[in-house]
Symmetry: C2
Subunit: 189 residues, 2 copies
DNA sequence: CAGCGCATGTAAGATGTTACATGATTCA
DNA sequence: TGAATCATGTAACATCTTACATGCGCTG
């Protein structure tokens, strides 16, 4: 029995927070990509089957849109679903095994040339920097009430800012070291 | 075709760096757990089959220990293996989809009670703090030459320090906010 | 001699990704 | 009318974890 899947819980969570209006599988994917993308992701190949299973288990309720317009299946959470979600939220989250490819490649750095490492690090630094700015922008929008975030969601935003800023800081420092090594004489430290 | 597995590369990487002395599967697992544990992990159920496959592909060479003592199979990297490793190292690492269960639960925070969130966050904060100290200790040992780290490995150590310190910082800040919410009146911000 | 760490593996099953298939609607 | 987006799904496949099975050697 592998680890318990968290995909159903993400779906329940999203449906739980927005229980006013039901969402389609496509919507759910969009919500994930737009709001939790930086620390979570799901694929359609995962979402649709899980949606079906959750529906069978009565944790969510499915309703096909009727009348004209696009045909979609809209899902909303049931009381049982809420209960399930809450019991999952109460469990202490396991700090899932991290797998950071960049750090790994850096760790094996002596098996390549320094410019390669610089390239990798630079690219990720840029990515993190962009992420950091994105978070900051969202935070600003929240402050002027343009985004309806809960205080908890604001915290996750702050986490994003803090962590990516830290990464950028470390990357810049490391890039200096790497460039010094590249230009020659002695890999200081 | 799912993502290319990095397990073989981790093995090649470890064998590549320590090419003086060959390692057993058990050794490799130990090395992973002791040196890259904080940003990578592998299980035996993964290591042994991959070892067999790599051996068939001539990327590593297997030799059974002879004579008395424990029977082990020792692996070392081949020139082809080195080449493979280097070509993998040269590829830009994809920033693999992050999946952070703690942040996710926090994001859905309005679906639980605040004390639950405090418990989760506190636990992870402690873990991160311990990790941070562990890194710092290793760094110190490296400085007084008690650990033979390459400058690249030192960088990964610094990454560990920076990132976990940042996490602790954010966690402490967030804990204050959460506790203020718990004790009542207005969830500031 | 019992128990622990060493040591190698297999089997089952869940998790997850990618690619494909299909079709409707909207907009330029 | 053609492209992009909406929308739902399936199939194939790889990945990875957990649990189990097995046995040796060392140490108290």
């Amino acid at each position: 029995m592998a680890r318990e899947s968290r995909t159903p819980m993400v779906i329940l969570g999203i449906l739980g927070m927005l229980d006013e209006r039901p969402l389609s599988g496509y919507d759910i994917k969009r919500v994930i990509d737009h709001s939790v993308a930086h620390f979570w992701s799901e694929s359609f190949g995962q979402i649709y089957p899980v949606l079906k299973r959750l529906s069978q288990d009565k944790l969510i309720r499915a309703r096909a849109t009727e009348g004209a317009g696009r045909k979609r299946i809209l899902y909303s959470i049931t009381p049982q679903g809420e209960k399930q979600l809450q019991s999952w939220l109460a469990k202490t989250p396991e700090p899932g095994k991290p797998r950071d490819e960049l750090i790994l490649k850096l760790f094996f750095g002596s098996e390549t040339e320094v410019p390669v490492l610089i390239r990798h690090l630079q690219a990720q630094r840029e990515r993190a920097h962009a992420a950091s700015e994105q978070y900051a922008e969202w935070l600003k929008k929240v402050e002027i009430q343009k985004l309806p975030y809960t205080p908890f969601q604001v915290m996750t935003l702050r986490a994003g800012v803090t962590m990516s800023a830290a990464f950028v800081e470390w990357a810049d420092e490391s890039l200096v070291t790497l460039k010094r090594m590249k230009t020659g004489r002695r890999g200081a430290l």
